[in-house]
Symmetry: none
Subunit: 175 residues, 2 copies
């Protein structure tokens, strides 16, 4: 019973964030009679319903997306909130921070390796660090310079992402 899994893993917060949808969808039947649409092509008994097969697919999709989001939250070290959107926001900030830090570290390494040649040992281990600038991107858009402008525009928006007390954001992103 209770096959309606109710999204096993939904408690986003340790405190208690789960909301129980105490509805009883016993199984995944009962969808006819909602409207008098006489679908002559009856699926012959308990077979795949043309419409009811979608809801299970949808549920699956939703579950998968939640899972992904949950995993994303796992890899980001500092999470402020659990809001489906804040998770992504933090992830973006974290990615940008990592990218920036990485560039800085690379610059540092590059500067370090240009030390007095005497200190440079013969065992050069830079082959591991493949610093190949992949300029040929197959990405269709947001290539070249203007790409970052887009990021900035978007980043400015949710830089002050304050869930509480939102002030009627006009969402006037002029893209």
């Amino acid at each position: 019973m209770d096959n309606v899994d109710q999204e096993f893993n939904n408690y986003w917060e340790t405190n208690s964030f789960l909301q129980n949808e105490d509805f009883e969808y016993d199984s995944w039947p009962l969808e006819e009679a909602i409207s008098g649409s006489y679908d002559s092509s009856s699926p012959d008994g308990a077979a795949s319903s043309p419409a009811s097969k979608n809801i299970v697919s949808e549920r699956n999709r939703r579950q998968k997306l939640n899972q992904r989001l949950f995993a994303l939250r796992s890899v980001v070290p500092n999470i402020t909130k659990m809001d489906k959107a804040s998770i992504i926001k933090d992830a973006i900030s974290y990615i940008q921070g990592l990218q920036y830090e990485e560039s800085k570290l690379e610059a540092e390494i590059r500067e370090l390796e240009s030390t007095p040649k005497s200190s440079l040992s013969f065992s050069k281990d830079f082959d591991r660090d493949l610093l190949v600038p992949v300029t040929s991107k197959k990405m269709k858009q947001l290539d070249s310079g203007p790409s970052r402008s887009l990021i900035e525009v978007l980043d400015v928006n949710f830089s002050e992402g304050d869930i509480h007390g939102r002030e009627d954001s006009g969402s006037e992103c002029n893209m």
Copy 2:
């Protein structure tokens, strides 16, 4: 059969751009001729919307989340698909790759600085407020060799293509 106040989508295409395969790119039509905004005056006469206030809130929330997702897609260099879930998946992989690479670079720096080091200032501040457009376009396709252990744990869950047939979906993604 008659929709009371909804004639279905098409009135604000600025939001529905996410379902696109690897076909033509050209997102952002750069048009904002919205204007429409039908006044769904309820025949009841009551000007206040008792329950219709939620739908606009929901719409706003959904739009915000889509925006975040789009921004997330912007900061991740290698995006394979546009599927709401694949975006997050790629983002996770990218984050893990960055983390691994960062650790590697740090180790390398540590090794380099142990040598006759010059007087170099090591500034490792993680400046987040800067939001500097890093645009480090040298993605490395993350060799997916080491640092795989962490990925596996999370990746076991969202192996796409395996979603059919199972509805149980044991979730071992412990946080």
